[in-house]
């Protein structure tokens, strides 16, 4: 075979791509479109100005990575609520079992995927950070 032919062919493909839509996303100036079912950072749902979570401990029970820590207490109305709700994002495998297990639909997984941080302790998301804004 003519040794020039494969080079021409290769350059042809390169040349073609100059007219196609680029695959690379120019992150962070360009943002990806996150699917509705994407399993990103968890969010604690809020209803009537307080977290819906009743601290039933089903999410830490079902969690295969053991990354959820819940501590419950009794509020002034004798209702159960979570004094502490922490997710260790370094351990989380984003399986979504916690959302599935929640009996009161208090937990969701958001499209938030930018979870990088500078220190390990910043990966432990407290209840305040997880509450939906």
């Amino acid at each position: 075979m003519n040794p020039i032919t494969p080079i021409i062919k290769g350059l042809g493909i390169t040349f073609k791509h100059m007219f196609l839509k680029p695959v690379t996303l120019q992150y962070p100036t360009e943002r990806p479109r996150v699917a509705a079912r994407y399993r990103g950072l968890h969010g604690l749902k809020v209803s009537h100005d307080k977290a819906k979570c009743v601290a039933c401990y089903l999410c830490p029970t079902v969690c295969p990575a053991k990354c959820i820590t819940v501590e419950a207490a009794e509020d002034a109305n004798h209702d159960k609520y979570a004094t502490k709700y922490e997710i260790d994002m370094l351990r989380c495998i984003f399986c979504g079992y916690c959302v599935e297990a929640c009996p009161v639909d208090a937990l969701k997984m958001t499209g938030e995927f930018e979870l990088a941080n500078y220190s390990r302790k910043d990966f432990i998301y407290s209840k305040e950070r997880l509450l939906e804004k």
Binding site: V54, A55, C56, Y57, L58, T61, A72, A73, E74, H78, D79, K80, P103, V104
Partner: protein, 823 residues
């Protein structure tokens, strides 16, 4: 035995069993909500419906129907399953579906049955109950909305606890469980109702929302309070004891516990626990390392006979025997003791001389096998509530005749048919001698005992104790004494129980000898359901005696040790777990002794009033953190294993003593197991025991008895002279001073009080909760007054557990102290 067929399986069952029992015995599961094996059949829930072929397919409850010969039973036909589903649907119609926030979730019979029967929806519609929830009680939360009306709480409170706090109120759909007149719950707070509740209607408030049931790891243990030796299951999460878990198969008591056992566990993980060794520097206790502390302690222990030790009988057998070994071999001192030197005398001197063995001749299971019980002091219920439950069940279910000889009335006197003889405080030994005399005079004594040693001396000594003279002294009548003596002698099986402890100075050697004489005279010994049971106060009081941790061969006893501290002959005192400042008699004397002693070392869980005076404080650990054995009051040896890691830097007394032995140049055993094998080799009755053979059940150390008559000395009762007789003792909610650190007991009984009869109170116009000054020769003490109908005129009662108002300010260790009251 009866033969019957259940689900095509040929089975046999005992004659008195129900269909449910027969099925369970043969591994066939019948669902149940309202049945508990400890309670009488009730048949409230209708979950256990079965079909019996002979009854033409009628559905009948298995838990109330006796199994009869040839029955052909089916437990799971489609019709039965349909009926059970209907029962569940109707229960779930009103039961709130708040499983996520209900602490019973995961351990709930209704939840489990709903899951088993795959009930996903309900055909019916109705509104949920709107009963008010009782959040105010510190220990038991009652949410009647969740109640399924199984009646277990009502029945256990009546049949076993015999308190009757709960009952069914109203009729039909409005039925609920409540207290009389719908008042708040005010009972013994033993929590038996909580333990048997199949749903979340009754919950333990101290455990509320602490953890879910499935997250707890369960550790079998032995209760660390009284000498009953109840088995416990500790619920542990994240290295913390969060609750006690009910297990109906545990121990002789089938999981029944008292308020201390069930709600008094918080001391284990208390924030007030000592976590580092402390050394007194410039007059202040400052944190130090273990090496530093042990070095100083070991240096001070090289003082030979100028060293003494006091230990609490809450230490394990291994610790006590190693402690004794250290004192004898490494320190070279015979001065060691426990329990103020008198609370163990009933065993170490009384039974030791009368029976030739320093242990009780009867066991707790004997109670229900007996025909007649003679209980000395109604306090037996307060000191050992679970033994009290055994008495309740015996009296109510088996018709045991209950006779009580006491200086005040109490809960036991309320039992059906209870015959309470209320005597003048301090005369119990004289009364028992009079009972012996009456037995002899009525010719009811066992003729074979005349040949026993000491018989003649006893007969001679008893001539001073005719029922007539004693009736006058004790405030009883001759007829009552003669009748009790006759009843006791006539009963085929009769048993005597009496409590001992720091609060019962009068219950020492002579009382033990007196009751032993009565039992020997009438031949009520060495048979099932007979004998004498000394209820020792702490969880290992009997063990401490078996290990010989009391002065022998000329060693000083606890009170002599304190005197020697004051005199300066004892220079170093090592106290392990005892709190003499609060619990020993005569506060001023104890404090002076501890101040005078050159060097005081205290190892304890908490900064007690005694530890505050120490030069070195060593943090010890609780029963939940160490391995060893405890011996219950009836010589059941039980093995405890650590349920959690040691708190902070605390160490078990076994480790502390081992390190001290090393520093003193000895070689200690490597593990508690090694020490236990030494114990079994040297302790009569313990032969052949190992941790493996003890298992979860424990094993009885047999007691061999050589009965001898010994003449007991009846103490002189001080003349009243217009004063009141102070008796001390335990309250139901506390045991020693340890329960002061358990939240549950403190919620119910937070402070000391003085219990006065209504007539005495009326005379000084004292009303409930008045601050009253109690004055004796020793000192005075301000306490809240509690008026009570159980106290006879001329008597006041003060419990001893409370450091804030210690009764030893006015009490110097006599059985009866004369006091006056003023407002």
């Amino acid at each position: 035995m009866v033969n019957l067929t259940i689900d095509d399986k040929q089975v046999t069952a005992p004659k008195d069993s129900t269909i449910y029992d027969a099925a369970k015995l043969n591994g066939i599961k019948i669902p149940i909500l309202c049945h508990d094996k400890k309670l009488k059949p009730f048949g409230a829930c209708r979950m256990c419906l079965v079909e019996i072929e002979q009854m033409k397919g009628r559905q009948i409850p298995a838990c109330t129907t006796p199994a009869t010969e040839g029955m052909i039973i089916r437990t799971n036909t489609p019709d039965i399953i349909k009926a059970r589903k209907l029962v569940l649907e109707l229960l779930l119609l009103n039961h709130p579906l708040d499983c996520p926030v209900c602490d019973k979730g995961g351990d709930c019979d209704l939840q489990n049955l709903t899951y088993d029967y795959e009930l996903n929806s309900n055909r019916f519609i109705d509104s949920k109950f709107q009963h008010e929830i009782d959040y105010n009680n510190p220990l038991i939360e009652r949410d009647m909305n969740r109640c399924v009306l199984c009646g277990k709480c009502v029945r256990i409170c009546d049949e076993i606890v015999s308190y009757g706090a709960l009952t069914f109120i109203d009729r039909g759909i409005e039925t609920k469980i409540g207290c009389d007149f719908e008042k708040p719950l005010d009972c013994e707070f033993c929590g038996s109702c909580v333990s048997v509740c199949p749903v979340g209607a009754l919950l333990a408030r101290p455990f509320k929302h602490k953890a879910r049931f499935w997250a707890l790891t369960k550790h079998n243990s032995v209760c660390g309070y009284c000498g009953t030796g109840c088995n416990l299951t500790l619920g542990v999460k994240d290295d913390k004891v969060l609750t006690t878990v009910y297990d109906e198969n545990q121990g002789f008591h089938k999981g029944q516990l008292c308020v201390r056992g069930r709600f008094g566990y918080q001391f284990i993980n208390s924030e007030k626990r000592l976590t580092t060794p402390l050394i007194r520097k410039n007059g202040r206790l400052t944190e130090a390392t273990w090496d530093e502390a042990l070095e100083i302690v070991a240096g001070r222990l090289k003082g030979g006979t100028a060293v003494a030790a006091l230990a609490t009988p809450r230490l394990t057998n291994e610790e006590l025997s190693l402690f004794k070994k250290m004192m004898l071999e490494n320190v070279g001192s015979k001065n060691y003791d426990h329990s103020a030197g008198y609370a163990h005398r009933a065993l170490t001197e009384g039974f030791a001389s009368s029976f030739g063995s320093s242990a009780s001749s009867a066991s707790i299971p004997d109670i229900q096998k007996s025909d007649l019980l003679l209980v000395i002091k109604t306090d037996s219920y307060e000191t050992h509530p679970v033994i009290g439950f055994e008495i309740n069940m015996g009296v109510k279910n088996k018709g045991i005749k209950l006779n009580i000889l006491s200086d005040k009335r109490g809960k036991l006197s309320k039992l059906p048919g209870a015959n309470t003889l209320v005597h003048i405080p301090g005369t119990e030994v004289a009364v028992i001698n009079a009972l012996c005399k009456s037995v002899i005079d009525q010719k009811l004594a066992d003729p074979s005992v005349a040949s026993l040693p000491g018989h003649a001396e006893l007969i001679k000594a008893l001539s001073d104790f005719t029922p007539e003279t004693i009736a006058a002294v004790s405030g009883l009548t001759v007829e009552k004494i003669n009748k009790l003596a006759a009843d006791y002698a006539a009963a085929e099986k009769a048993m005597i129980l009496f409590p001992t402890g720091l609060g019962y100075a009068g219950h020492a050697a002579d009382l033990a000898r007196a009751v032993a004489n009565l039992a020997i005279l009438t031949g009520k010994l060495g048979k099932e359901g007979c004998g004498v049971l000394c209820l020792s106060e702490k969880n290992n009081s009997q063990g401490a005696v078996d290990m010989g941790f009391y002065p022998q061969d000329g060693g000083d006893n606890a009170l002599q040790i304190l005197d020697a501290c004051s005199a300066g002959t004892i220079k170093t005192l090592l106290i392990a777990g005892e709190n003499p400042v609060t619990s020993y008699p005569d506060n001023a004397k104890v404090k002076a002794a501890l101040d005078a002693v050159e060097f005081l070392i205290v190892s304890d869980l908490f900064m007690t009033e005694t530890a505050e005076l120490a030069d070195v404080v060593l943090p010890a650990c609780s029963f939940a953190e160490k391995e060893g054995t405890y011996t219950s009051t009836d010589r059941r040896v039980q093995h405890v294993k650590p349920a959690i890691n040691k708190i902070g830097q605390s160490r078990s007394d076994f480790e502390i003593i081992s390190s001290l032995i090393v520093k003193l140049g000895g070689t200690p055993p490597t593990t508690p197991a090694a020490q236990f094998s030494e114990i079994t080799a040297n302790t009569p009755g313990y032969e052949g025991m190992t941790y493996a053979t003890l298992g979860n059940e424990g094993a009885f150390a047999p007691v061999s008895i050589q009965p001898v008559f010994v003449v007991p000395v009846a103490a002189q009762v001080p003349a009243a002279q217009g004063k009141l007789a102070l008796v001390t003792g335990s309250v139901l909610y506390h045991n020693g001073t340890l329960s002061q650190h358990g939240e549950g007991p403190v919620h119910v009984c937070p402070e000391a009080y003085v219990e006065i009869s209504r007539s005495d109170a009326g005379r000084s116009s004292i009303i409930d909760n008045d601050l009253v000054t109690v004055t004796s020769e020793n000192g005075s003490l301000q306490l809240k007054a509690k008026l009570s109908i159980r106290i006879p005129e001329g008597v006041v009662f003060i419990p001893y557990h409370f450091p804030a108002a210690p009764v030893n300010m006015v009490w110097s260790g006599s059985a009866v102290t004369m006091v006056s009251l003023s407002k």
